[in-house]
């Protein structure tokens, strides 16, 4: 809609608000190169010492690996569980498919603080607190709704005649799914992968309830660090995380278009 010229007042206002929106992300970059031992802005001196400091911090490093492995496992499981479920809901249309769809995406409606507490109470009974398996299960509760949504949309928009054509050419239902349906869903699968990975990797509230001294994720470790001492180490770490996010976003954008994946 470029028919209506944008007034200068709106341009200035929007620009100011964009600065406000991006300020906290922009500001961490200079701080990450601070030479001070505590956080102040602008820094009184500059250095790159905080980047190596991250890798010297055992807690952060182990939390990073936990988060990475966690996000990987959660993403793989989300696809393995979400894909058959989406297929069943969209293609086999069992009775009550719509109700089941809303039930499976309902965890997104619950505030994570409530969901976190609810899961904490139940999981504590099974000894799942502060375990990797417990974290995986808790993260799946919030990543699966995203997976179901994106994959269902991807499946629902596929042209069915193409699958029928494969069947007439002699492909069994399983072969049709493997050779035709799955490749055609590529952008939906890439979107789901990116979304589940980022949601799991950035998830902090559920993780706060599920972690303990024995196991921690990166966002939780960062949270505790900021709570105790807001030093430039977290800024350096933040810059690395923003770069990681950017890489994921670019990959998704290349393969399927970011706007398509996150905004309808």
């Amino acid at each position: 809609m470029d028919e209506r010229p944008i007034s200068p007042a709106l341009k200035i206002l929007a620009c100011a608000m964009f600065i406000f929106l991006l300020a906290p992300l922009i500001v961490v970059v200079p701080i990450s190169f601070s030479g001070d031992s505590y956080m102040m802005f602008p820094p009184s001196s500059w250095s790159t010492k905080w980047y190596p400091a991250i890798f010297a911090d055992g807690k952060m490093v182990s939390a990073f690996w936990t988060s990475l492995l966690l996000a990987f496992v959660v993403t793989v499981l989300s696809l393995l569980i979400g894909l058959p479920a989406a297929y069943a809901l969209v293609r086999l249309k069992p009775r009550g498919a719509e109700f089941l769809s809303s039930l499976f995406t309902a965890p997104l409606l619950l505030p994570t603080i409530v969901l976190g507490l609810a899961i904490l109470i139940v999981f504590s009974g099974y000894g799942l607190l502060a375990t990797f398996q417990g974290l995986v299960a808790a993260h799946l509760v919030v990543t699966l709704p995203y997976a179901i949504r994106v994959l269902s949309t991807a499946l629902a928009t596929l042209p069915i005649p193409v699958e029928e054509a494969a069947a007439t050419l002699g492909a069994s239902p399983l072969t049709v799914f493997r050779r035709v349906t799955l490749p055609m869903m590529r952008s939906g699968i890439v979107g789901t992968t990116a979304l589940c990975f980022l949601v799991s990797f950035d998830e902090v509230v559920l993780s706060l309830f599920m972690t303990g001294p024995r196991i921690s994720t990166l966002p939780v470790a960062m949270y505790h660090r900021v709570e105790q001492q807001a030093d430039p180490l977290v800024a350096a770490l933040s810059v690395l995380l923003v770069v990681l996010t950017l890489v994921v976003v670019l990959v998704v954008d290349r393969t399927s278009g970011l706007a398509k994946t996150f905004v309808k």
Binding site: P159, E164, A165, L169, S172, T175, M184
Partner: protein, 360 residues
Amino acid sequence: MTSRTDAPEGFLSIRSLTKRYGDFVAVDNLDLEVPKGELVAFLGPSGCGKTTSLRMIAGLVPATSGRIVVGGGDLTEVATHRRDMGLVFQSYALFPHMSVARNVAFGLEMRKVDKGEIAKRVKEAIALVHLTGKEEHRPAQLSGGQQQRVALARALVIRPSILLLDEPLSNLDAKLRDEMRNEIRDIQKRLGITAIFVTHDQVEALTMCDKVVVMNQGRLEQLGTPVELYETPKTAFVASFVGRSNRLTAVARNGAAEFAGQRIAAPAGLEGPVQVMIRPHRLGLSPASPAAADPARQQVTGTVARAIFAGDILQYDVDVGGQIVSVELATRGGESVIEPGRPVTLSWRPQDIFIYGAAA
């Protein structure tokens, strides 16, 4: 209607095929025998059940009842991928993520044909549809007509027992459509393949096919050669759907149809309101003069309501007792246009008029 007892057993044999969706009957008790090597059209308006019938033959829609037999084997309960039929879709349904060659090779790969053989047959099939050189293109890089050819090659390369074509030409522009019509017919004849061609376009059905099945509201209206359908339509629906017809109403009594006070012979057994059909270009028109009546022709009189000179033809709308009859005369040069308001005589050969009970 064809009945199973007097028709010869065909290569494809459809027996009492029915499809119901709840109360809606999409295909009603269809019986059909298709001899080997024939191209048969399923012709009808949208919603007549022609596509549903085709999809049941392909196994994409399960039949509610009835049998589908090919070469003596009952396929009714056989899954699509084991039916060995080639289907060309209206939307082409090419695999967007595969090259032209991979699209064509797909069916052969499913049949576990060995690699060398696949390469050879894919090459032949692509040459058959004149796409040599486009093997590595993706479907999205091809024009509509080219995509259509890939779809055809993909369906033919598996040497299917039956080739099914679902409105394959409806997404092409007029010029390409004429071209593909001839090409599909040539290939089908050359390969001697049994084929079913679903279309709503009577020109396609008449020009391409050995036989035409006219369908309406799930039922088979008439099966016949294009000439039979055109010259001896068995129902009012066929008469109006195949070719163009004037459709008039009359009242039948004692073996004659009464028509604004004028009588014409009608088939015995018809009583009450009837429909009278006659094709505009099978009518003769002359200034009214009872003396010139040709005993071999039937005739009525009317008044010219409108006269249009359209180059190739001279078109008259003639008012016959309040009903408008359209007449088309091929121009030969030198004729004078009869002015509106003038009385005229319409005449025709008895075999050109069709009279049906009004219920049809």
